[in-house]
């Protein structure tokens, strides 16, 4: 059986799982059992089959697990979003459709050789910085929860950071492919551009006061530098610089400071100042409210969870227990309803997806492809770690999305384009290795 047929079999398996999950949520919400709910499932399934068909013509030899794993994550995301708010799920489904369109578009556009992207590396680099700074522009940017991550054009909301992540990986793959020999020698004068990137990360952090994104970009950067040069000193030095920079900014940025305090001490037994309403209250009722409520939600799931559709996310009068549960806290919603078993399964899906991505990097033939795949796969791992780790109080909580799962258009779009790139690299690696 060839790669694409195996992909189709995998997709069918994912379809069965997704139908079961979505079916549970649908039955729980509508309180009836009928085939009506399957219409929604069929539409999403058709989209993925469409993506598969495009793959047949463009990336015939690509890894057969990448698309099904992304479909599984998307299915989980849609199910949880539907469970939380059907209207949101509908919007999310539109974004998934657009994401798959972007996926197909990328495959078709780059079907001959994606490596032409390498030529545009500096454009990607500058665009990435530009995109990251967009939300800081007056009139365009919008401060949500004290963090500048969004831009507003008319009624359209857009989080450019997600696209910037993709551009950053493309830039670094091209740049490091070109400079890796030079950098590997470790001469001080070659470190200039690296320091510039560090400076840019700090600038972004200062501008957006978003520790999570800064950590993600810089982590991806360090990971790619390590793979390109093989020098741990860069990683260590970079890490020290980042920590030092963050520590310096820590005192300057009240927002970051607050996040760290909430992380270390989410519960207080005495009332502390609550900036939200200017009164004194327990921290779990104010700054760490979201985090604490999310932990309650996760813990309530226990081993097996409450069952899909039977979790508790609203109070008796219908108010949301955890604000923004469908984006940053989607993991706590999932954890409550499917328990430790389901939560661990979700993380395992990410682990498999990352491993497959890394495998693509291993078998790729040229430096650009290797670095590109590494950057995409490691970025996926790091982003997953930062957001779920934040929700689980492993690291300070920062608002970034869970790839493919969280509600949010720009995130879905960027992740599907990233997936397309991975598949392009995978396809090329296979055909060149067979040609030899």
């Amino acid at each position: 059986m060839n790669a694409r047929s195996r992909e189709l079999v995998n997709l069918v398996l994912v379809g069965i799982l997704g139908t079961a999950a979505f079916g549970s949520a649908w039955i729980a919400r509508t309180n009836r059992v009928s085939a009506d709910g399957l219409v929604d499932v069929a539409v999403i399934a058709a989209l993925f089959v469409g993506a598969h068909v495009v793959g047949r013509f463009t990336v015939a030899r690509a890894d057969p697990t990448l698309l099904p794993l992304a479909a599984l994550l998307t299915g989980i995301g849609l199910t949880v979003n539907y469970r939380l708010d059907p209207a949101d799920a509908r919007k999310q489904a539109v974004w998934v459709a657009l994401g798959i369109l972007a996926f197909a578009g990328t495959l078709v556009a780059l079907r001959f050789d994606y490596r032409i992207l390498e030529q545009y590396r500096y454009i990607f680099g500058i665009s990435a910085i530009g995109l990251l700074l967009l939300p800081s522009l007056p009139g365009l940017g919008q401060r949500v929860n004290g963090v500048r991550l969004w831009i507003h054009v008319g009624s359209l909301q857009f989080q450019p950071g997600e696209i910037a992540k993709l551009f950053l990986v493309l830039f670094l793959a091209g740049y490091l492919r070109e400079k890796r020999e030079v950098l590997a020698q470790g001469r001080l004068k070659d470190l200039g551009p690296l320091l510039a990137i560090w400076g840019a990360a700090m600038l972004v952090l200062l501008q957006t006061s978003d520790l999570g994104s800064a950590l993600l970009y810089f982590g991806v950067f360090l990971g790619m530098v390590y793979v390109a040069t093989g020098r741990l000193t860069y990683v260590l030095g970079g890490g020290v610089l980042f920590l030092g920079g963050s520590a310096a900014l820590y005192t300057a940025l009240a927002r970051v400071q607050e996040r760290v305090t909430d992380w270390l001490h989410p519960f207080t037994s005495t009332k502390v100042f609550c900036p939200a309403n200017g009164t004194f209250d327990y921290r779990q009722n104010c700054q760490s409210y979201q985090l604490v409520k999310s932990l309650y939600s996760i813990a309530h799931g226990g081993y097996g969870g409450t069952g899909i559709g039977r979790g508790t996310f609203r109070t008796l009068d219908g108010t949301q227990l955890i604000p923004e549960i469908q984006t940053d806290f989607i993991y706590s919603a999932w954890s409550q309803e499917v328990g430790l078993i389901g939560a661990a399964a979700l993380v395992l899906v990410f682990m498999v997806l990352v491993t497959r991505g890394m495998r693509v990097a291993l078998v790729a033939q040229d430096g650009f492809s290797k670095l590109l795949a590494t950057g995409l796969a490691f970025g996926l791992a790091l982003q997953t770690f930062i957001i779920i780790g934040g929700v689980l109080r492993v690291v300070p909580l920062t608002g970034i999305t869970l790839p493919f799962v969280s509600y949010g258009g720009s995130s879905i779009l960027a992740n599907f384009v990233g997936l397309a790139l991975l598949m392009l690299v995978s396809h090329r690696a296979r055909i060149t290795s067979e040609a030899r």
Binding site: A28, Y296, L392
Partner: protein, 496 residues
């Protein structure tokens, strides 16, 4: 580069594996801690996804559920079709405040979180089928007709009526007035503070039947007489001289002015002293026996510990001496005035439930049965999980003492202070009580009795009635209410 890529994947795997470890921590180790946190609203809401068991008595629904859909989930809210009739004993279960009554003490059964095997099986099956968890149903021993009669007879007065079957302890009536509508507990709790009654504050939320503490007055003479006979220092025929008062610490303590007989009885037997409720006689008995002997007898009847019942322990109060709001057992004889204690004054405070137990114990010949109000707890599958079974508390008095006391109490009804309760064809023995609070028109009046068919069988009923703020005596105010309750229970079959 491949070595670095492998290492980097290793790091990525470690990072992601950390998440599984952290999830495991929160969902297993820390789970109980977080569930117990006070601001954990999930726990509160989750309770409402359980279809709470029904509480019924005699086939009538006292507490049922109203289903509402919130966020696509069925939630069950409590409703109480009979409202104020059984508000105190059933209590309420709301989202906004703590539970009370049986809703609180039987919460585990009502929400199927008790650990009996059949509940465990039912609950797991419900969960597997994706159905709401169904709680166990609770059936009560109450007789709702009699409960209605008692509450109606209390009217706007403040007080309580307890009726139980002294042969097994099954409680038939637990009425406390003023009552409240438990359906309003969720959203209109403040309405309860506006409930008016003949007393201030009306305190409608207090279950006066089990937690109302009242000076027992002369009704306590039954306990004193029991102590006297048990001590063997006295017999029913022991003769006293009643000058109309008793001298204590050089002061005269007078008989109650408005008794059914002459104020000064002269030479009188113990038997008749109880029948006519002569204070001076009991005062002298008290001085002879001492406070300890009386209190120990009281303790044997169950004083000094909250009377056993299925309601929450904080809704039951122990009878006994109270000093600055606290239960108090004297360490030295001199701390208590035995004369005043003997006729139920001093700092003695008792609950109606305790006094019904005293009357019933004497009625059945000295064996005290544990009161119970839950006759059965039935699983959703129809299996009986728990059955209210009669159990003995103890034997506070010997059969001889009990028989002698029965005779005295029967004479109270026949020709003494309690004639208002006499019903032809029934064998009724009782004792009145009128505790003066020092303010005219503010007496606490009592009637306690046992009653049954006049065929030599043990009485079917023990009743205690207490009323606050009365101008007249217990015989005139409380006894007629006791009579109505006895009639409602013994002249109609009702629920067994």
């Amino acid at each position: 580069m491949n070595r670095q890529i492998l290492r980097l994947s290793g790091i990525a795997m470690i990072l992601l594996a950390t998440l599984i470890v952290a999830s495991t921590y929160w969902q297993t180790w820390a789970r109980a801690d977080l569930a117990a946190k006070q601001d954990n609203a999930i726990q509160r809401v989750a309770q409402f996804s359980i279809r709470r068991g029904a509480i019924t008595a005699g086939g009538r629904l006292l507490a049922g559920n109203k289903r509402k859909f919130v966020d696509g989930r069925a939630l069950y809210f409590r409703r109480y079709p009979l409202g104020r009739l059984t508000a105190h004993v059933v209590g309420y279960s709301t989202a906004s405040r703590a539970r009370t009554g049986l809703e609180k003490s039987l919460n585990d059964y009502l929400t199927a979180s008790n650990e009996s095997l059949s509940t465990l099986v039912d609950r797991s099956l419900d969960q597997l089928r994706g159905r709401p968890i169904r709680g166990n149903d609770v059936r009560l021993t109450l007789n709702l007709h009699a409960q209605q009669v008692a509450l109606g007879a209390l009217g706007t007065k403040c007080g309580a009526v307890v009726a139980l079957d002294p042969r097994n302890g099954a409680v038939r009536v637990l009425a406390s007035a003023p009552s409240f509508d438990p359906n309003l507990a969720e959203n209109r709790f403040s309405a309860f503070s506006r409930i008016k009654a003949d007393c201030t504050p009306a305190a409608p939320l207090i279950d006066r039947a089990t937690a109302g503490l009242y000076p027992p007055g002369s009704s306590f003479k039954v306990v004193t007489a029991a102590a006297a006979l048990e001590s063997k220092k006295f017999t029913p025929d022991s003769v006293f001289h009643d000058p109309g008062y008793c001298v204590e610490y050089g002061k005269q303590v007078h008989n109650f002015a408005d008794q059914s007989g002459p104020e000064v009885f002269g030479t009188i037997r113990l038997h008749d002293a109880l029948v006519h409720s002569v204070n001076s006689v009991f005062c002298n008995i008290g001085k002879t026996l001492g406070a300890f002997a009386i209190l120990r007898e009281a303790e044997r009847f169950g004083f000094y510990s909250p009377p056993p019942l299925e309601t929450p322990v904080d809704e039951r109060r122990a009878s006994g001496l109270y000093q600055s709001g606290k239960l108090f057992f004297p360490r030295r004889e001199s701390q208590v005035d035995p004369g005043r204690l003997a006729f139920g004054q001093e700092r003695l405070l008792v609950t109606p439930l305790q006094m019904a137990m005293v009357a019933g114990t004497i009625g059945v010949g000295g064996v005290e049965m544990q009161p119970y109000v839950v006759s059965r707890i039935v699983s959703p599958g129809g299996k009986t999980i728990l059955k209210g079974t009669p159990s003995r508390i103890g034997k506070p008095v010997s059969r001889d003492t009990a028989t002698a006391l029965q005779d005295m109490m029967i004479d109270v009804v026949r020709r003494g202070t309690g004639t208002a309760v006499a019903i032809s064809g029934l064998r009724i023995g009782g004792k009145t009580g009128t505790a003066e609070t020092g303010v005219t028109g503010r007496n606490t009046t009592w009637f306690i009795c046992f009653a049954g068919p006049d065929d030599g069988s043990p009485p079917h009923l023990a009743v205690a009635v207490v009323l606050e703020g009365q101008t007249l005596t217990g015989g005139a105010t409380a006894a007629p209410i006791a009579r109505q309750v006895i009639e409602s229970l013994l002249s109609q079959p009702g629920n067994p």
